[in-house]
């Protein structure tokens, strides 16, 4: 039962991160779109791409706090793949 409420607290935190993250990205993209500044739009889009990375990182840290090392490992793998994709794009 204790583990259940731990997970629930984790969930609430992740939800918060998601909401604030999107809000920020939306503002940046909106400003860029309204002023016709492509560079700002691209910055906002890049932020949007980084959001899921932040999401997985948050989950990883919280799993670490819980001592759930299997899931720390799984999250770490996902994180590595995400970063690889960004680096790989330059070669494609």
């Amino acid at each position: 039962m204790k583990e259940n409420s731990e997970l629930e607290k984790t969930e609430l935190l992740i939800a918060q991160i998601l909401r604030w993250g999107i809000f920020l990205c939306a503002i940046v993209i909106l400003i860029g779109w309204a002023t016709g500044a492509d560079k700002i739009i691209m910055a906002g889009l890049l932020m949007l791409i980084f959001l899921p990375i932040g999401r997985v990182l948050a989950a990883l840290l919280l799993f670490f706090k819980q001592g759930d090392y299997i899931y720390v490992g799984l999250s770490a793998y996902v994180l590595i793949i995400l970063i690889t994709s960004l680096l790989m794009g330059k070669q494609l």
């Binding site: 492509d38 999401r55 799984l74 995400l82």
Partner: protein, 278 residues
């Protein structure tokens, strides 16, 4: 034209978050068929909108404890790996083939959804089977709050390896077609892993963004994301997905499934036609 893109994207966002899709299913056909956008750029704009939908709805579902976070992370190992493979393949594939793959995937999904609907005529609260042993080990079994039943419903997770494989394929398709592969994810969780439809949808939403990011990074660096298209799409979808997540709570599982099937068939036909004319 920007405004039109925002409007359609809003609609895509609403539908997307209710059905557990990324909205790319609707945005790409619209952009390519009605506005004549080159499929490469449609895919680029879509993959960003997919992240937006996913994050928008995911926030609400996670807060409402509908999402199975452990399952999502576990399956993301498969989807992101698939996405990298797909991103590499995409450089070698002609666009006509993409349209056809799109159409086939959609039809297959509609069929599987319908089949599953036939199986669970008894309703969503039935728990069958004992759960897969991997699921026990990985702590995937959980429960969710059912609005209509008014109490938390327990569920078990089955067929973990099969689900994992489906997710790998979903990852490849996501990168190839610029979609979140939400439908394939929901399908895998719903038919193979026997999760309640709302949990499948909510968990799918959570996963879509991560899968999309795994190929979006590559598309961004390749220059396939055009600000003039991607910006209105992102804005429209963000708004729509917040709205859709709010509505989803109040709908019945069976109704969600029916809408899903109709949408899939309609769009499949459109994409098939488009593939023929390219």
């Amino acid at each position: 034209m920007s405004l039109l893109i925002v409007l359609i994207s809003f609609f895509a966002g609403v539908l997307g978050s209710i059905l557990g899709l990324g909205g790319g299913i609707i945005v790409i056909p619209f952009l390519t068929i009605f506005l004549g956008v080159e499929i490469r750029y449609a895919i680029g704009a879509s993959i960003v909108s997919v992240i937006a939908t996913s994050s928008g709805a995911a926030a609400r579902y996670v807060r409402d404890h509908m999402t199975n976070v452990r399952l999502a992370i576990f399956l993301e190992v498969a989807t992101t790996t698939g996405a990298i493979v797909g991103a590499i393949i995409s450089s070698f594939v002609h666009s006509r083939i993409l349209y056809f793959i799109f159409a086939v995937v959609l039809l297959h999904s509609a069929y599987m959804m319908w089949k599953r609907g036939q199986e669970s005529k008894k309703g969503e609260a039935v728990v069958v089977g004992k759960g897969h042993k991997w699921a026990h080990f990985l702590k995937l079994h959980s429960h969710y709050p059912d609005y209509h039943l008014g109490r938390p419903v327990e569920y078990l997770v089955e067929n973990v390896p099969l689900g994992f494989f489906y997710m790998f394929v979903a990852g490849i398709l996501s990168a190839l077609l610029g979609i979140g592969s939400g439908m394939l994810k929901v399908l895998a969780m719903d038919s193979a892993m026997k999760l309640p439809i709302k949990v499948s949808s909510a968990t799918s939403n959570f996963m879509i963004g991560v899968t999309a990011a795994a190929s979006a990074g590559a598309y961004y660096m390749k220059g396939d994301i055009k600000p003039a298209i991607a910006a209105p799409v992102a804005i429209g979808v963000l708004g729509g997905s917040f709205m859709g997540a709010h509505l989803m709570h109040k709908m019945q599982g069976a109704l969600i499934r029916k809408i899903f099937i109709v949408v899939l068939v309609l769009i499949s036909v459109q994409m098939g036609l488009k593939g023929l004319s390219v």
